[in-house]
Symmetry: C2
Subunit: 320 residues, 2 copies
Amino acid sequence: MRHATLRQLKVFESVARNLSYTRAAEELHLTQPTVSIQLKQLTDIVGFPLLEQIGKRIFLTELGQELLKVARETFDNFSRFEMLVSDIKGVKAGKLKVTVITTAKYFVPRLLGSFYKRYPGIEVFLTVTNREKVLQRLANNEDDLYILGQPPEHMDVHAEMFLENPLVVVASCDHPLAGQAGIPIGRIAEEPFLMREQGSGTRLSAQRFFSDRGMQLKIRMELGSNEAIKLAVAGGLGIAVISAHTLALERNSKELSILDAEGFPIRRQWYLAYPAGKQLTVVSSAFRDFLKEEGRAVANRYLAGIPGFLPVTANTDLPA
Amino acid sequence: MRHATLRQLKVFESVARNLSYTRAAEELHLTQPTVSIQLKQLTDIVGFPLLEQIGKRIFLTELGQELLKVARETFDNFSRFEMLVSDIKGVKAGKLKVTVITTAKYFVPRLLGSFYKRYPGIEVFLTVTNREKVLQRLANNEDDLYILGQPPEHMDVHAEMFLENPLVVVASCDHPLAGQAGIPIGRIAEEPFLMREQGSGTRLSAQRFFSDRGMQLKIRMELGSNEAIKLAVAGGLGIAVISAHTLALERNSKELSILDAEGFPIRRQWYLAYPAGKQLTVVSSAFRDFLKEEGRAVANRYLAGIPGFLPVTANTDLPA
DNA sequence: ATAAACGATAGATATTTATCTATGGTATAT
DNA sequence: ATATACCATAGATAAATATCTATCGTTTAT
């Protein structure tokens, strides 16, 4: 049975449906002897007659009927698979598995939302986890794409920036420094700071920024969320370094002010990564294009106008 | 997709399971390049990658997983079919469609019962109908085997006798003729007869028997069943011609007596028929053998000892 | 009785296939 | 840094496959 061919099944199916070798031959654009031979081979493989001829009429034997079922099921399976292939080709079907670093959870869901609206047939699976796990999943090729704040090193990974993530200094609008131009960095360092907890990427970047310049921050308070920090800053409890994205909604409010501090914004980026050598699926490719496009739009809408910020124009692909 | 081969699927399945070309090659007793080539061909046919290699590890793409499902289902179907084939070969499975003429309904079900006991995996379909319908079904090849009282003529049919069906004259035990040897046929014809309704094969045979000899029967009464006839005969209402089979249970009773009438028993037979040129299925063959065997047993048990009856020894196959 | 339709078979052929050996490139592990 | 394991590719070959044309024997229909 292993040695039967799909061709034989195809021919058999046609004969079984037409109950005629000649008819089947016409349908398949073959000559009648070809059909006879194909059927003979299949019958020899099975070891029992599949058809019987009584007078001039052809009948299916019990086994013939069973084999017909098998043949039809098989062909059905194949055509379903073929449809899947063409759906995937047209991005009308498929899966997209994305793993993002925790800090990206503030903007990635929104992006996935609009992506899903554009391609409703796609199933999206989002995993949000810490950097270590992200890298691990990347190494194990568990997902299609990965989003993180800095491209992995010591790994053969293809990474590309798709969105600027400038870190800015915010103060309340009635803060003495609000509105001043070119505030020296030393002046900023004198202010009491509000910070996210240890381990936050933003906090790390900020502290490194100041320590690189030989300064140490005065941390007045640690807060568990960006929202809490913004509220505390607005209440005049101190100033803070936060991602400009988290200000998206407050940019035009009169509560918070971005200070024009020397050396700011600290330039960070969001990266899209995937294993080097991985051929992206059609869906992944579509999401990648989508991210870059959206990235530009977001940058133009929210990031332009940040003091000291110059948007990167080219898409910078970073090799490992 | 139509051009994929089962071989390719087989190789693909092995690679997908082992996640290694080399492993698959070992498993299939092939060289590794052979596996590579088979997979390349399959991939080309599908048009999209089925596997991806990240570093040294191999992963299934989404399509690969789908195709794996298809492949497994296909092979499952085939092996189920193969099992069916071998079950049928061993008469452990299969269907048996038998159509019998109405008058055979008195003994066929019992036979089917014991056949079913011997081959419990067989599904038996029994159709009981009149001669015309039986012949029609036979012409249309709707069943496997047919049982009737006389083989069809003017049809290309293979028919073989499997059971004698002698018609005997019965009278009550205290009837004057009971026990007499070599009763002349004219004497029998003087007696009042009990008969089945018009159209009964037995009645037809009996009347023809007498009319062939220039006599006419005096029919005292028509009765609807063989049981009723036997009771009436036992009650002394007349004598009757009935199939010896119907006496199976009463042979040793003291109520009924088979008369040793000249020219009796009328020899009738039960025939097994099927279209000429039809190759019997394994099950049909088994049932055919069973019938002949049972036929002999029944003949030995019940028919021996009927006055004037000589069992046929050879199995007489009648051509059309 | 004859013709027409149908399937089986034989013989021929071009193509495809399945497979091998040998070798080369890469990635992981030591 | 080297060795090892793994997959890809090229080239060669024997086998099989799929197909055709021509023809024959039956069976049905006219």
